[in-house]
């Protein structure tokens, strides 16, 4: 069932979205892409069932990633969010975690680490659903 689920990539950098999508695909993970928080909310409104894990950049024009995550959690509390921060600092990551993020990665992202965290998020999600 999970193999049909997709990863939602929310980042204003198109190149990052594309290359990360390509990488995930090489690891047999399907992904959707949104360039802003509003686009992500629209996409989730249409295809929320297809998405299980969201990779969210913190620094984006308009609504920032932490606020966007809070909005998503209001409507889809079961979605797990991994936050990415280019403005790397422990405080931002801690703040994201306190507001419900599953985990965080600092840019530039180590893909092995990201992949591991995506899989952990899925496992956690499955456990939670199985309860």
């Amino acid at each position: 069932m999970n193999s049909n689920r997709k990863i939602l990539l929310v980042d204003d950098e198109q190149e990052f979205r594309e290359i990360t999508g390509k990488f995930l695909l090489r690891r047999n993970l399907q992904s959707l892409q949104a360039e802003s928080c509003m686009a992500a909310l629209d996409l989730l409104a249409q295809e929320s069932e297809q998405v299980d894990v969201i990779i969210m950049d913190v620094s984006m024009p308009g609504m920032d990633g932490i606020s966007c995550m809070a909005e998503i959690k209001k409507s889809w509390p079961d979605k797990e969010v991994i936050i990415l921060t280019g403005h790397a600092s422990l405080q931002i990551s801690i703040s994201g975690m306190k507001q419900g993020a599953f985990d965080y990665c600092m840019k530039p992202v180590d893909y092995a680490e990201l992949l591991e965290k995506i899989l952990l998020a899925r496992e956690f999600q499955n456990r939670e659903r199985g309860k």
Partner: protein, 537 residues
């Protein structure tokens, strides 16, 4: 420029602080002087008036006594006896024994003819009918004449009394010794320069004036700028006694007062100037201190704004660098996948090594941008809140326990239960503590491998009422040379690609931002202790 402004302010302050007290000071001295001068003058006038009145009374008494003597003779002596010059001479001799002021005496009939005479001159038979004193004596009963020369051509004056005896009006007259009378008048007790003289109604001197003015001359013009003058009338208003005194004598004591005033002026002025200089210097010092404070504050603000600017630049820089780094990393990740597939077709090991090295260098760049960002992002101490150090340290131990256990490191934590809460930002303290603990774990791993590692966390309160957190390890320690540099930015002892050299300088910056401090002590090969201090809440 600033020094010139201070000089100008000091000059103005000096002028104001000298002139302002000087005006009332000198005014009061001047008023005191003029009041005293007026008082001296008034006192002198009053004194002269008293002397003049007393002296006039004395002279009047003298004249009255002479008139009385003549009256007694006229009324008590037989006229027949008085008509005989020989008898009159006897009477005159007796009179002179009582009063030595008479020169001669004569009896005059109603026609003004002197019928008998006793004295040094030949005046018997002389006619005085035209003399004013004779006429006055006939009409008023007695008279005292002005000073005149008369038949003898010598200055004198006459005292005369008249009476009607046995139906005949007779006048008994006597001449008063002008020298004796003059010395009586002049003998006035009024300082060294005080003198007295008589003038009649026509302004003719009836006595000489000691300081210049002959008998029967006109009264000299009054020198009011040199003398004070006081007058008193006598002889039924016919004469005026004038008493005068030198103004210089009156004011001779005033010069002593003037010298005292000048002395007070000098002493007072000296103290005023001294005080003015002291006050001016004090105020200038205060202004300079305030100005320095303001300049320091401006410098701090400038530094703060530059740091904020640096923070913004760094944030932009990090963002801009991180994005291409991310793309590079992503491409490498894909290349690795491709390489693994290609490996099946004999791709060289060198390619794999190169990709790994690229990854390491990109990670290093990413770590540097993160650290630069953290370093520039100084936290304001106003974000303070309380930290329960016991709870905090136990949480920190928990956070790194998995990694520490895998390296065989035992972590102990000792915190007194009554330790007060610290004032600070827990996120900042977490970052600092994690950084030190990660360094400690690496140091222990380098010395002990995966056995016998010790990491001790403890806290206490210092005598200065600060919370002190100690993080001690038994790792490889830090050399004395490096210990001086560990908080400098970009200083690292780690291998290339393993450390940015910013962790401890960022920690130092965070602790300073919380009004705290960080320090370290260590000996090479014997572990290290990091000491964090925070204010008590």
């Amino acid at each position: 420029m600033i020094r010139k402004i201070y000089r100008d302010i000091r000059r103005v302050l000096l002028i104001v602080t000298i002139i302002v007290p000087m005006i009332p000071f000198l005014s009061s001295l001047f008023l005191g002087y003029t009041s005293y001068r007026n008082f001296v003058y008034t006192a002198a006038i009053s004194g002269a008036e008293r002397v003049a009145q007393g002296h006039a009374a004395l002279i009047s008494s003298f004249l009255e006594e002479r008139r009385s003597h003549l009256g007694t003779i006229l009324f008590t002596t037989a006229i027949s006896s008085l008509r005989q010059s020989e008898n009159l001479a006897v009477i005159f001799e007796a009179l002179c024994r009582n009063s030595d002021s008479f020169i001669d005496i004569g009896l005059i009939n109603a026609d003004g003819v002197q019928i008998s005479y006793a004295g040094p001159y030949q005046l018997e038979g002389k006619n005085y009918s035209k003399s004013l004193w004779f006429q006055q004596a006939l009409t008023q009963g007695s008279a005292i004449s002005d000073v005149y020369l008369g038949y003898r051509q010598k200055a004198h004056f006459t005292v005369a009394v008249s009476a009607v005896i046995d139906g005949e009006q007779l006048v008994l007259r006597a001449t008063v010794d002008q020298n004796l009378f003059g010395s009586l008048v002049e003998k006035v007790n009024l300082g060294k320069t005080g003198e007295a003289y008589l003038v009649n109604q026509q302004g003719i001197l009836q006595t000489s004036v000691r300081s210049g003015g002959k008998l029967l001359d006109h009264d000299p013009p009054k020198e009011t700028e040199r003398y004070i003058y006081v007058t008193a009338s006598l002889n039924d208003g016919a004469w005026f006694l004038t008493v005068r005194q030198s103004i210089q004598e009156i004011y001779q004591d005033l010069s002593k007062v003037v010298w005292r005033i000048i002395f007070i002026c000098f002493i007072g002025g000296f103290f005023i100037i001294l005080l003015a200089v002291w006050i001016s210097n004090k105020i200038i010092a205060m202004i300079a201190a305030k100005e320095q404070e303001r300049t320091d504050m401006e410098k701090q603000l400038f530094r703060a704004s530059r740091l904020a600017e640096l923070g913004e630049i760094s944030a932009g820089f990090a963002h801009e660098i991180n994005n291409p780094l991310q793309i590079m990393k992503s491409e490498i990740a894909l290349m690795e996948i491709e390489a693994k597939e290609l490996d099946k077709h004999n791709v060289t090991a060198d390619f794999t090594d190169s990709v790994a090295e690229l990854n390491r260098q990109i990670d290093r760049c990413g770590a540097i941008t993160r650290s630069i960002l953290d370093f520039s992002r100084k936290k304001d101490s106003s974000d303070s809140f309380s930290i329960d150090i016991k709870e905090f340290l136990y949480d920190m131990r928990k956070m790194i326990s998995h990694r520490a256990e895998s390296s065989g490191i035992h972590i102990s934590c000792t915190v007194p239960s009554d330790l007060p809460k610290a004032k600070g930002d827990s996120d900042g303290l977490q970052q600092v503590t994690l950084n030190i603990m990660n360094n400690a774990i690496q140091s222990i791993e380098e010395k002990h491998g995966s056995e016998n590692g010790e990491l001790r966390l403890s806290a206490n309160i210092t005598e200065e009422k600060q919370i002190e957190i100690l993080i001690e390890d038994n790792g490889k320690g830090i050399s004395a040379e490096n210990l001086e540099k560990i908080f400098n930015p970009f200083f690292t002892t780690k291998l290339p690609g393993k450390g940015t050299g910013l962790g401890l300088s960022v920690s130092h910056s965070i602790m300073s931002g919380m009004n705290g401090s960080i320090s370290a002590r260590s000996k090479e090969g014997q572990g290290a202790t990091f000491i964090l201090r925070l204010p008590v809440l």
